[in-house]
Symmetry: C2
C-alpha cells in the first residue's frame, strides 16, 4: 500500500470513528430503564435473526474449514442454537446489572459551602479488537451499551460474516428504539492499515481493548497511541502450603488445570511446600495423569514422581494453554511468592492453606489482579465474580485490574455546585 | 549519541527504575500510622534542611537568571522560607488524608460461598516528569509515598540543585525509619535519551505523569509506551445563562480570569446568552479591563463593547495563560455547549444560572472532568476539592479524570476467599 492509499484508509476510518462516537452521545444520555429495554430488544433481535446469524456463521465455518484452520479455531468460531441462546441470555444478564452511569461515588460539602460529587460517566468511544469468537461482538456491544458508550468492533476476518449478521441484529434493536445505529459499529475494513489507523485516533478513541492471542495483543500495544487495557498471558500458579487441606488443594489443582486448559485462568504451574511434597505430589501426579496431563518438574519433584520431564525456565514462564503443568517444590511461602514474582503474569494466583496468616501474607505480598485463597483460579471471570459479564481481563495496572464489567467502562468525574463561591475572596464588581 | 551510548543510557535507567520499584515493595506494605509518621518526618526533614535547600535553590535561580530565563520561569523556580514552609505543610496535609491502600470498596458473598472483596493496592512505580517547580518534588513524593508507591522523579534541569537537596531531605527521613531510600529516586541523567528510556520500561513502570507545558506533555505522549495520564491544556469556559445571577456571574468571571491567569483552571473564554448580553457584557468588559484584561470578541459582542478586537477560531481554541479572554454571544445553552464541545479541552467548564434544569443539562451533556455550577473554575484543584493535594489533573478519560490525589495512585484488585470451591463441580480425587 502506498502512502496515498494509507492516507485514504486513515480518512475513512477517522470518519467512521467520529460517526460512532457521535452516535454514542445518545446512548450516554439514556436512563437505566431505557437501556434495559433496549438490551432486551437486542436479545430478542438476536433470537429473531437466529437463522440468518447461524447461516452466516456456517459460511464462516465452511470457509475456515476449507482454509484448513485448526479445530480449536473452528470451535471458537462456531455458533449453534444453544450458543446463540447463551449469548442472548448474557445480554439479558447485563441488562439486569446495576447501571454504573450516574452513580455518585462520593459526596461532600466543603467548609465554603461547595457541594462536591464524584459521578460516573461513560468513557465515550471504546474500540474492541478481537479474533475468532463471534459472541464477543454481542458481549462487547452489550457491555458498552449498558455503560453508555459507543463501541467500534473490529473482529477477526474468520468471523466476519457472523459478526456482520450479529451487529445487524443489534443495530436493528437500536433503530427500533429511535437510537442511532452507529453507536454499535462493526469495522468492515479488516486490513492492518485500518487497525493501525483506529489505534492512533487519540482525539476520538477513549480506550482500546484487545482480546485474543498474545500476537494480536502485542500488535495492538505496539501500534496504539490511544489508551489500551490488556492482558498478555495468564500464567496462574497454585501454591500448596504446608498447612493446606490436601483434598482441597487437589480439587483446586484438577479444576484449575484440567476443566478448560485453553483459557487464561487455567493453572500453568504447581508450587508445593517441601514439607508436604512427599505425600501430596505423587497423589497429584496420579490424578493429573489420569486426566491426560503431562508434568514437567524440578529436580526434587522428579525424585518423588517417576517419569516427569525436567522443567526449564521457559516452562515456568509458559502459558501452556494445554494439558501440561510445570511443577516445583519450594521451601516455604516466601520461595513460592518469589517464584510467582519472577514468572507470574499478574493475572490470578491461588494459595491452598488453612493458615490464615500465611494466606494473608500471600494476598498482601503479591500484586496480581486476582488472588484466590482456597478457591479455584477458574473463578477469575467477570460472571463468576459478580460482574454479570466481562469485556476482558486487565493486567494493565491502571483504570481496571482483573475482570472488567460495565463499571470498568465508566470513569468518575467531578460535579461541583455552589452559590457564587470564588477562590480569592469576593471581588468588588462595581 | 550513537547506538551503543543510547544502549548504555537505557541499561543504566533500567537498573535505576528496577531498584526504585523494588524499594517500593517496603512502602506498599506500611501501615497507615507508619506512613503518617514517615510523612511527618519528611516534613521535619525539609524544615531541618531548609538552609541547604534554599542555598541550592539560590544557585538554580542564579544560573537561570544568568541564562536569561523569563521572570515567570524564575518565579516558578524560586523557593523561599514561606514557600518551603507551605511545602512541608502540604506533606502534613497529605499525611492526614485517608489511606487509600487496603480500602475495601466492594464486598459480597456469592451463592457458592465465595467471599469476594475489591481492595485498593498501590500502582507500583510512578514516574513523575515535570519542569521548573521544585515543590513538585516534595508534593509528588508525598502523594506517591502515602499511596504506597515508589516514585521516580525527573524534574527540569533548571531546578536540579533544588530537587537534589529536597530529595536528599526526604530520603533521609526514609532511612531514619529503616526504609529503603530508593523508594524516592531523583533521576540525575536529565538527557532526552534517559527520559525516552524510562518512558519505554513497560515491564517496570506502571504510570508516567507529565506535568508542565504542552511541549513537555506532547514529548512524553509521543515517546511513552508505558501508560500516561496527562492534560494538555485547560481551555475553561464560563457560560452566563439567561437565568444567571449577574453578580454571581461577574464574580466567577473575575475570579476565574484575573486571580491567577497562568494556571490551567483559569478561564479562557466567556460565553454569554444573547438575552442578557446587552446588560451583562458591557459591565463585564468594564470590570475585566479595570484589571488589565484584553477582550477578543465575536461580531455581536463587539457591537456591545467598543474597542474589542475580533476573536478568531485560534483565540477560541487558545489557552492564553495570560490576561486575555475570548468572548462570544450564544443563542442559548445548546449553542454554548456546542462551542465548548468544539473548543474545550475536557478540563473544567462553568455555568452561571439559577435555572436548575439548564444546569442539569449542562452537567449531563458535557464530558469534561470537572463541571462547576455557580462556582469558580479556580476550585478545580485537588486541595480545593478535598483531596489534600494533587499530583496532577487528568483529562485522559481513563483511570482518573480531573484532579488526582492519593486514591488515583492506587488500583482495585480482587481478593477471593473460599473453602475449596471449584468451578466445575467436585472432581473425584481418588
Amino acid at each position: 500500500m502506498n502512502a496515498r492509499a494509507a492516507g485514504d484508509v486513515g480518512d475513512a476510518i477517522r470518519a467512521i470513528a467520529i460517526a460512532c462516537r457521535d452516535a454514542g452521545a445518545a446512548v450516554a444520555a439514556l436512563s437505566t430503564s431505557t437501556k434495559r429495554s433496549v438490551l432486551e430488544s437486542m436479545a430478542r433481535s438476536l433470537e429473531a435473526h437466529a437463522d440468518t446469524i447461524l447461516a452466516a456463521n456456517a459460511r464462516d465455518v465452511d470457509a475456515a474449514t476449507a482454509r484448513g484452520q485448526t479445530a480449536a479455531l473452528i470451535d471458537r468460531l462456531r455458533l449453534d442454537a444453544p450458543r446463540l441462546a447463551a449469548v442472548a441470555a448474557g445480554m439479558r444478564a447485563v441488562a439486569q446489572q446495576a447501571d454504573p452511569v450516574g452513580r455518585i461515588t462520593h459526596r461532600e460539602t466543603r467548609a465554603n459551602g461547595l457541594d462536591i460529587e464524584r459521578v460516573r460517566i461513560p468513557l465515550g468511544l471504546v474500540v474492541m479488537i478481537y479474533e475468532a469468537r463471534p459472541n464477543v461482538t454481542a458481549d462487547a456491544a452489550a457491555l458498552c451499551f449498558h455503560s453508555g458508550n459507543a463501541v467500534l468492533l473490529r473482529g477477526g476476518s474468520e468471523a466476519f460474516e457472523s459478526n456482520r449478521a450479529i451487529a445487524a441484529a443489534l443495530r436493528a434493536a437500536l433503530v427500533e428504539h429511535g437510537l442511532p445505529a452507529g453507536a454499535i459499529t462493526l469495522m468492515e475494513d479488516l486490513s492492518r492499515e485500518a487497525m493501525i489507523a483506529v489505534l492512533q485516533l487519540t482525539d476520538i478513541v477513549d480506550l482500546a481493548i484487545p482480546r485474543g492471542g498474545e500476537g494480536l495483543i502485542r500488535f495492538v500495544a505496539e501500534h496504539a497511541r490511544v489508551p489500551v487495557i490488556k492482558h498478555y498471558r495468564g500464567v496462574c500458579h497454585l501454591y500448596v502450603d504446608a498447612q493446606a487441606d490436601p483434598d482441597v488443594a487437589l480439587r483446586l489443582l484438577i479444576d484449575g488445570k484440567t476443566t478448560r486448559p485453553a483459557v487464561c485462568n487455567a493453572l500453568e504451574t504447581l508450587l508445593v511446600h517441601a514439607d508436604v511434597a512427599a505425600t501430596f505430589l505423587p497423589r497429584a501426579a496420579h490424578a493429573l495423569r489420569q486426566r491426560g496431563v503431562e508434568l514437567r518438574g524440578c529436580r526434587r519433584s522428579r525424585e518423588l514422581v517417576a517419569g516427569m520431564t525436567a522443567a526449564t525456565d521457559a516452562d515456568y514462564a509458559a502459558e501452556f494453554l494445554d494439558l501440561i503443568i510445570a511443577v516445583r517444590i519450594v521451601a516455604d511461602a516466601d520461595e513460592a511468592m518469589e517464584h510467582i514474582r519472577r514468572f507470574g503474569s499478574d493475572h490470578t494466583e491461588v494459595i491452598a492453606t488453612r493458615d490464615d496468616s500465611v494466606a494473608q501474607r500471600f494476598v498482601q505480598s503479591l500484586r496480581c489482579a486476582v488472588v484466590m485463597v482456597n478457591a479455584s483460579s477458574r473463578f477469575s471471570d467477570g460472571g463468576e465474580l459478580g460482574l454479570g459479564a466481562e469485556i476482558g481481563i486487565s493486567t494493565t495496572r491502571l483504570h481496571a485490574y482483573g475482570p472488567m464489567g460495565s463499571e470498568s467502562l465508566t470513569i468518575e468525574r467531578y460535579v461541583v455546585r455552589g452559590t457564587g463561591q470564588t477562590r480569592h475572596g469576593t471581588p468588588s464588581i462595581d
